[in-house]
């Protein structure tokens, strides 16, 4: 078998894995968009904030220590204890729920009935706010996140492919775990929205706010719930990306990776987010592998966008999006 093809296959597999991670972030977008019509730009920062909080709680950091030290001239950093990963994740989840409540109570309750674009800009403001807040509470240095997920090359795949092709594929254990977790997460989300009372209420709200209100569904509650679920998805994405490349500012930029995924898959479709993520992940890795060397590399920054743009010209609502019907 020619070398290019074998390398291409490895790139393809790695692209699939990367695509799963993009899809994870895109899921959070879709959830909020479906339930409230808010296009939530702050999803990436939400993931960063969740990961920062998780690391902070696990290491027993003192919140606002930087600020306190600066104002009072003290020198405090850590409480001096370590919190087990499971408890820390639960505590972080509590923080995310409180955050969801605050976001709903302080921002979006006042913006009901505003144009979608205003809501979108509000989430950009929220993104800036959270980014600064996360840095002020936990400090802006790069942190290591280790919740006990395996990392490094998967030895058995390496061996197996070596026997088949005479070349061992490099597949990261973490990526395999991420894929498994993403699959479980999607299954849980689908089950939740199909079979539980709250899930059905959520879908009702997504369909028609006023009709949902009239049958006694509390919009307030549903929106807080949706933001909490989005916070949970952000936490999972934050754990994955944080374990992979450290918890730092660039984590929030994964939102920018998720946007073309959304455009491709459609803003309103959970399967669309998954399929879109896979297409983008594979597409950009293969493009970089095949065409990148010819044009100077680093095409990953824009390829996804241009792909999505060209795609949208032919199908403006994305792959699985609801048909856009316009009325005067």
């Amino acid at each position: 078998m020619p070398d290019t093809l074998i390398f291409g296959m490895e790139v393809f597999l790695n692209g699939l894995m990367a695509g799963v991670l993009y899809a994870l972030v895109a899921l959070g977008f879709v959830l909020i968009y479906k339930a409230s019509g808010i296009f939530n730009y702050s999803q990436g920062v939400l993931a960063l904030f969740a990961a920062l909080t998780l690391v902070g709680i696990m290491d027993g950091q003192v919140p606002f220590s930087h600020m306190i030290n600066a104002v009072f001239g003290t020198d405090i950093h850590h409480f001096g204890w370590q919190v087990p990963a499971v408890f820390a994740i639960l505590l972080t989840m509590v923080v995310m729920v409180v955050l969801a409540w605050a976001v709903q109570r302080l921002i979006f309750r006042h913006l009901i009935g505003q144009e979608p674009i205003i809501l979108f800009m509000a989430t950009i403001g929220l993104a800036y706010f959270l980014e600064g807040l996360g840095d002020i509470i936990w400090g802006s240095d790069i942190k290591k996140l280790d919740v006990g997920l395996p990392q490094g090359i998967n030895a058995s795949i390496d061996e197996l492919t070596y026997q088949w092709f005479g070349y061992g594929f490099f597949i990261d254990n973490l990526d395999i775990w991420a894929t498994a977790i993403a699959v479980i997460l999607v299954a849980v989300l689908v089950a939740f929205s199909q079979y539980t009372k709250q899930g059905r209420a959520m879908r009702a709200v997504a369909d028609d706010h006023q009709a949902a209100l009239s049958v006694g569904i509390s919009l307030n509650f549903i929106w807080i719930m949706v933001w909490s679920v989005a916070g949970f998805v952000a936490l999972v994405a934050g754990i994955m990306w944080g374990t992979k490349s450290g918890v730092q500012f660039s984590l929030s930029l994964i939102a920018l990776k998720a946007l073309p995924v959304l455009m491709l898959g459609g803003f309103t479709s959970i399967p669309g987010a998954i399929v879109g993520g896979l297409i983008i992940g594979v597409g950009e890795k293969l493009f970089e592998f095949l065409v990148g060397p010819l044009v100077g590399g680093a095409t990953e920054n824009w390829f996804a966008y241009v792909l999505a743009l060209i795609f949208l010209v032919f199908r403006p609502q994305g792959l699985f999006g609801e048909k856009i019907i316009e009325r005067v």
Binding site: H66, Q114, G125, A127, Y128, E131, G132, W302, L312, G318
Partner: protein
């Protein structure tokens, strides 16, 4: 008492259609112009020009440009940074290729080139609407920055990959390069800002502007009453990109002097200009000025208060700035979605009636 329409009798259509129908406004406008052109140049020093005036003038041009697209035509664009980069690299190529032509024309041609690029990236807006379009403009942002980073022809094969502005003069006085005088660069940018504001104001209150606003308010209805969405959207993209390109050219050639594209024209620049027009007021030329002034002054003020007065570490102040800007955006959207310009309008209404409440 003095802010009144009463007693002003318009006797011609020209009088009736003027930009500032109230005498007091007109007076204020002329006084502001006179101060900006005749007083400030004699008072500024290097710090004031570089920290406040130049960024304000240049961002105000960019904000006017973006406001035409977002505020008047309703097409949300997140590609401002990329278009500013087009302006910057165009002016750089023009300056190095045709050193004999006055830089004044280079800047204008750079704006025209950006307008062409803007039309190209505006084409999908005919099919794609709303959020999809906002995200699609990010394609312009990332692709253009990548292009200027990777294709050596754009930066004249310089080893560092940076571009730096050679010295160019207007009437024998250097406005770019290392030997500039603060008043000269100030005046150079001011001329462009005043020109841009005049053109933009007159575009937006003419038939072109009314077409843009019809598209913004409801594009299908506009199409039915005979507004051609193709020309309306593309002229908005062209006009907007022209001003943004001029701003980018000035930002590089006059303000920074040397530029690394990813750093100077990254996505954060797109958001910054977008925030300016949100805080200032969508669909208002005055709002572009107010927003630019606000977001240029805010970091300076925070630095003076936080770092210099209280002695906080600069990184904490920078984070605090993010928090404050974010909170301000949200507050503005909740309390006054039409921005500073609306506050100004309300104030004027009150002034007109003063001292009576109704």
């Amino acid at each position: 008492m003095i802010y009144r329409e009463a007693g002003e009798f318009k006797t011609s259509y020209v009088d009736d259609g003027q930009t500032f129908p109230i005498r007091f406004d007109r007076l204020g406008y002329y006084v502001t112009l006179a101060v900006a052109f005749l007083v400030i140049p004699f008072m500024v020093n290097d710090y004031w020009v570089n920290a406040i005036f130049l960024p304000f003038l240049i961002y105000a041009i960019a904000a006017i440009g973006l406001n035409i697209l977002v505020g008047y035509c309703g097409q949300v664009s997140l590609g401002t940074g990329g278009f500013m980069a087009v302006g910057a690299y165009s002016v750089y190529k023009l300056m190095t290729a045709f050193p004999d032509i006055n830089i004044f024309f280079h800047v204008i041609i750079a704006g025209a080139i950006t307008a062409a690029v803007g039309v190209l990236f505006g084409l999908p807006s005919l099919r794609i609407k709303g959020f999809y379009l906002a995200v699609a403009t990010l394609a312009a942002q990332f692709f253009l920055v990548w292009l200027f980073n990777r294709v050596p022809w754009f930066y004249n094969y310089s080893a560092s990959g940076q571009i730096s502005a050679p010295e160019r003069t207007v009437f024998g006085i250097p406005v770019t390069g290392a030997e500039t005088q603060p008043w000269a660069v100030y005046l150079f940018c001011l001329v462009f800002l005043v020109g841009s504001a005049l053109i933009a104001r007159n575009l937006t209150r003419g038939s072109t502007g009314r077409r843009w606003m019809a598209i913004r308010d409801m594009d299908i209805a506009a199409e039915i009453i005979g507004v051609n969405p193709l020309t309306a959207k593309l002229t908005a993209f062209a006009a907007s990109s022209f001003f943004v390109g001029v701003a980018g050219a000035l930002f590089f050639a006059v303000y920074l002097g040397a530029v690394e594209v990813g750093e100077a024209f990254g996505i954060s620049k797109s958001f910054l200009v977008l925030f300016m027009i949100i805080i200032g007021g969508l669909g208002s030329i005055f709002g572009s000025f107010a927003g630019a002034a606000f977001l240029v002054l805010l970091p300076v003020a925070l630095k003076v208060v936080g770092a210099d007065m209280f002695g906080w570490p600069t990184d904490t102040v920078a984070h605090l700035q993010l928090v404050i800007v974010g909170a301000l955006i949200v507050t503005f959207l909740v309390l006054e979605p039409h921005g500073l310009a609306q506050l100004w309008r309300v104030t004027k209404e009150k002034l007109r009636l003063w001292p009576f409440p109704h």
